[in-house]
Symmetry: C2
Subunit: 345 residues, 2 copies
Amino acid sequence: MKTHTLLMPLDMHIHFRDGVMLQRVAPLTSYCFSGAVVMPNLVPPVTTLEALKAYKQRIKNAIGDGGEDLDEMSVDAFEPFMTLFYKNYDRDFLESVADEIIAIKLYPDGATTNSDGGVKNFDIEVMRETLETMSELDIPLCVHGESNGFVMDREAEFMSVYETLAQNFPDLKIIMEHITTKDAVDMLDKYPNLYATITVQHLLITLDDVAGGMLAPHLFCKPIAKRPEDRDALLKVALNAHPKVMFGSDSAPHPQHAKESCGCAAGVFTAPIALQVLCELFDKHDKLDNLQSFISDNAQSIYSVCPEFKEVILEESDFVVPAKYGDVVPMYAGKTLKWSIEEVL
Amino acid sequence: MKTHTLLMPLDMHIHFRDGVMLQRVAPLTSYCFSGAVVMPNLVPPVTTLEALKAYKQRIKNAIGDGGEDLDEMSVDAFEPFMTLFYKNYDRDFLESVADEIIAIKLYPDGATTNSDGGVKNFDIEVMRETLETMSELDIPLCVHGESNGFVMDREAEFMSVYETLAQNFPDLKIIMEHITTKDAVDMLDKYPNLYATITVQHLLITLDDVAGGMLAPHLFCKPIAKRPEDRDALLKVALNAHPKVMFGSDSAPHPQHAKESCGCAAGVFTAPIALQVLCELFDKHDKLDNLQSFISDNAQSIYSVCPEFKEVILEESDFVVPAKYGDVVPMYAGKTLKWSIEEVL
């Protein structure tokens, strides 16, 4: 049977949430990833060292707990890479947290789930002190890059903000999170300090899958999936192991009732299926050898991190995606994937 | 209190469905409209004279029944204008049904709810005999105009089909149903035999309302709402009483569970709120005097119909839209509209 081994997979953008949901989902990631960049958009957002440390401890507790389905899973070798919610921070504070965080995550106010209190307008001068200090301390800036315009234009309209940031802070590492457009892909080669994460779903779906047939709440996320030519541009850089592109699932669990209701929350839950789907996708395009770069090596270089050892052996055998994990419906629920996780060492 | 009277309102595109749903929704339309063009996409579709007559009788029965909420409603003066599902019909058949139908409705195969068995490719020569006979017998062709392409492009891509039809059958009245784009609006002035219906929702919403905030299943329909500039183009011709534009609600009831679920069916239910919403909208733009053309007069001219007398008096007083009609959630459920129906004579 065909197998493929991934070393130290990293998920550079994950939502673990908190409380019961955290208990449910964190072990699904720690099982097969060496580390994950944990988003800070709790309610209230993570903006203090105390909140950060307490959240990290809750994550570690959740991972330690394992969960009833995961008793045989290897959860030891996992590092939650913590982030703060962007606001203007002073130098003293940034120096005090620099060793505790991997990045600071910037949300435009109201752009997505729990983003209230984010940046309202991108006045560079107001942000300059914080961003310059981050540059000096080598703290990357992760950005949810959407304007408040028409839904299909939001990411493209945000490109001017990325350009302003990249030009004004040439030593700041700026990660364009969960990019969905050809416009964003094109930015990668324009500025040396711009990088990107890409989700599983944006390599696979377009708006057609969300709203072209039946409306599909479990494929609805922000940014929304775009046009076929956008998906193809994302796929191209991922498959070809573009060195500035990393995997970030943006896996975002919501209870089923919050997805299948009158107003459906944004977020696709992919944490437990991401590696299997990516193996199938890269294999289909005969690019399996490039998956290691996308899933770990690029992120290690960009973020200068050395994750703990983990070896995930996948094999080409059917994996039927569970209908639910707890009360969370994953992407491809009930569907059969061609690759499964055979062993985690 | 400010009032506005509409004479013989007509809904030139309605889905009554069948069975229990028909019983529920038909009286809501017959209460405040003089007539409605009833879509034939039942399962199986209406393609024979027997099926057509039987369906018309079921509609009349449903209207006669009234329903528990509607005992005081005026349902006498209502005509269901019947349609057949397009396929290639011969002259004998068309002559035999000409007096029983107002139009024939063409669906591209698989384009929307219950459209299986529709036209698979638009080979004009294959359709020529039917369409020429329809021209001669003065039977209009109503068209669901969407390609099978990317969801935001489907209507625009269909414009070439409209052009081919309009050019090849200059005496055929062709109704572009529920148009959603500036492209379709622009076609109106290009060919004398092209007309259009517009829904309530497409005068008000864009894709932002469907998928820009939370995902809104009750605003999901086919064709999907498009861009702001499209909505503005539709609004302009409706408000200005463009003589080739008619109101057609495309009101499409689905049970709540079929909308708020893993895969949400297409259709917005507006029948019982359409007149109130349109009054509010036209009044807001200071175009209330043009609503009569949009809601009835244009359709009477285009279709050469003389509906039975009905006078609907609306007043500028709050109307709280019910959360549900039976198990059907209407557009704007629970919201307060500024205009209400005061009396129907």
